[in-house]
């Protein structure tokens, strides 16, 4: 079964593009401190890492290297602000700072280093996605399993709640909850989980209803196994395939919703490394300087491409996984 899945996945050329793009983003997130290293100016990342110079980040023998990779302080997630000039500066153009002249790879937008923001933003996006999807999965699977396994009143109540959540445009719900809880990373996560668990619960419930009726469950019950044991050891392990696909797809969609939220200015504070912010900055520079309509292309181009390629990668991968798991497929 598993090898056929892999064989199918391997045959699909678009899947390879998807896998390539997704790995690129995963690597970028993991290696953010090496790809867009903190500088002495822009934010307090270097200071909080306990480093004096950027070079220390690249030294795997020193503590700074490991700290930056696996326990980066919060200040590293602030987009490096190289100056306070609102006007963008083009890619690789020299920018005067207190620590000398630097050349931001993708230019600056509102004084923020676009490249730094995008690279660390990838980290933010994937961190958020992992936590959110993990929690949604946990809550959704548990609630869905209980709902499907016990049925009756419990099921009825849970399904009504699920229906109310489904009857509402998810993004609007997300927006309302994040606003009411107040902006912070934790509250965004909570809002995502409150909105998203229902989708998992519905899928798991359907699977559990199917598995519950199978003979081996009956057998376990006849042997005197408790409900908890039956759910966790017998029913759930056989009900998770579909919901795992949902989770993989969600890993790609959560960052996009989060970026849309922060584009609107809801959620993450200004200056937090995140893709939506950088697109929001671009709103002020739609038109180029007088006489040069293409003048500020980089302000919107790089953030937009980062987001589009991310979505493309996950969708290609998701489609491929779905096709490979589909028993009707060739």
């Amino acid at each position: 079964m598993r090898s056929r899945f892999l064989a199918r996945l391997r045959r699909n050329r678009l899947a390879w593009l998807g896998i390539f793009l997704v790995s690129l983003y995963l690597l970028t997130a993991l290696l953010a401190p090496l790809i867009a290293p903190p500088r002495p100016v822009g934010n307090n990342c270097l200071r909080d890492l306990g480093a004096k110079a950027t070079a220390e980040v690249y030294n795997p023998l020193g503590p700074v290297f490991w700290k930056a990779l696996f326990a980066a302080p919060a200040s590293c997630y602030q987009i490096a602000r190289v100056n306070y000039r609102p006007e963008p500066s083009p890619p690789l153009a020299p920018v005067e700072t207190e620590a000398g002249v630097i050349r931001p790879l993708m230019g600056t937008s509102s004084g923020y280093d676009v490249f730094y923001g995008l690279v660390w933003g990838t980290r933010t996006a994937l961190r958020l996605a992992l936590v959110v999807v993990g929690l949604q999965f946990l809550v959704g699977v548990l609630v869905g399993a209980i709902s499907g396994y016990f049925g009756g009143v419990v099921d009825n109540v849970i399904q009504r709640v699920v229906e109310v959540i489904f009857a509402f445009p998810g993004f609007v719900l997300l927006m309302v909850i994040t606003t009411l809880l107040g902006p912070s990373l934790e509250h965004i996560i909570l809002a995502f989980v409150l909105v998203g668990w229902a989708g998992y619960a519905r899928v798991v419930r359907g699977e559990v209803l199917r598995v519950r009726a199978l003979d081996f469950v009956e057998g376990a019950r006849a042997l005197g196994a408790s409900h908890g044991r039956i759910i966790l050891r017998h029913v759930l392990p056989n009900s998770l395939t579909a919901v795992t696909v949902v989770a993989v797809l969600d890993l790609g969609s959560v960052p996009l919703s989060a970026a849309a939220l922060s584009f609107l200015g809801i959620g993450l504070p200004v200056g937090y490394a995140d893709w939506g912010q950088l697109v929001a900055f671009a709103r002020s520079w739609i038109q180029g300087p007088p006489g040069n309509p293409f003048g500020y292309w980089y302000v919107s181009f790089f953030p937009a491409m980062t987001i589009i390629l991310f979505g493309l990668g996950w969708n290609l991968l998701g489609d491929a996984v779905r096709d490979a798991l589909d028993p009707r497929g060739a």
């Binding site: 609007v172 697109v279 671009a282």
Partner: protein
């Protein structure tokens, strides 16, 4: 059927009750002072937060706060929205028609692309048209609304200067409209301008609608296209279609009467999904294009921590969704004689 409609409409107050309970419940995570800030309308009140807390009963237990809110809401008072600087009810009255206008304009290309192109793509499977449809779906699926909107603005307004910038009207027409307002009949500016015979304003509104409509169309028609295409392909492969062709019916009749009517059944269920997408899409699209509808108001209310505003926005969204879901179910029963609601 009537019993079904009545029963479903009776569920609406229950949904609204649950929603408002949840919102007021969420507010309990905040301190009374934080809640008070949400209701403050001017600086004087801000200096005397304790008074606001006492007046509004914000330090009272949850159920007292909720019954206070409910009492006011039942009297038609949903509070004052900081974001629009008007009462919530007034804001909705003023802005909802504008969003409806945007959605109505968008619905034409959404249906044309979704259903017409979807049908054609299935009928001419693997032709260049089908490939085009496939590319369109990939683009529409992978470019989030806010990126799409920004890119359209950058290219067609910033680079090429073909489309007007954000806003509902050009500045000169805004001034013209203030000096010589068109009577408000529907609240939809294009319709009102047309009824008043004000052509410059009418055409200007249409010009400003082009990019937002393209944005909304792209994000909303992809799913419709995909489902129409695959549903049509499935129906076309069935025996009764072969029978119809074998007995010599013209292609047109087979394709449109026999196949498409059945293929559209699953598509109808998408209608409510599409409207929900339009509502979410409207929040972002209206914000990007500075369009004065409920979506941009909702987004502003959210950034300004305008709690009455965001509650009003949520309640309006809930009403729209419930009504649209009901309409979808009724339409489904009308189109498919096998469906009965008893």
């Amino acid at each position: 059927m009537l019993a079904f409609i009545v029963r479903r409409l009776l569920a609406l107050p229950l949904v609204l009750l649950a929603l408002s309970l949840a919102i007021v419940g969420l507010l309990q995570f905040l301190t009374p002072e934080q809640r008070a800030v949400a209701f403050v309308q001017n600086e004087q009140q801000l200096r005397n937060l304790d008074k606001v807390i006492r007046e509004k009963g914000l330090d009272q237990p949850f159920w007292v706060q909720y019954s206070n809110w409910l009492k006011e809401a039942l009297r038609g008072n949903l509070g004052f929205s900081k974001a629009s600087n008007k009462s919530v009810v007034e804001t909705i009255k003023e802005r909802f028609p504008a969003t409806l206008e945007l959605a109505l304009f968008a619905s034409v290309p959404i249906i044309v692309i979704g259903i017409w192109l979807g049908t054609l793509a299935a009928l001419r499977k693997d032709s260049w048209l089908d490939q085009l449809a496939r590319v369109f779906v990939v683009v529409a699926y992978n470019v989030p609304t806010f990126v799409m909107g920004i890119l359209l603005l950058v290219v067609f307004y910033g680079f090429l200067g073909l489309a007007p910038g954000p806003g509902q009207l050009s500045p000169e027409n805004q001034i013209a409209l203030i000096l010589n307002p068109v009577p408000r009949r529907t609240g939809m500016l294009s319709v009102d301008a047309l009824l008043a015979g004000n052509w410059p304003v009418f055409l200007d509104v249409l010009r400003h609608l082009i990019l937002p409509v393209i944005t909304l169309t792209t994000v909303s028609s992809a799913t419709l296209l995909k489902v129409t295409r695959s549903s049509m392909l499935e129906v076309l492969s069935q025996d009764y279609i072969r029978t119809a062709r074998a007995k010599g019916l013209p292609d047109r009749v087979v394709n449109l009467k026999h196949a498409r009517r059945n293929a559209l059944l699953p598509v109808i269920t998408l209608a409510s999904f599409t409207v929900m997408g339009l509502l979410s899409g409207a929040v972002i699209t209206e914000t990007i294009f500075a369009y004065p509808g409920i979506g941009s108001w909702g987004a502003q209310a959210a950034t300004l921590f305008d709690v009455p505003g965001i509650m009003g926005f949520a309640i309006l969204t809930a009403i729209v969704t419930v009504v649209v879901n009901l309409a979808t179910d009724i339409l489904y029963a009308l189109v498919d004689p096998r469906v009965r609601y008893d």
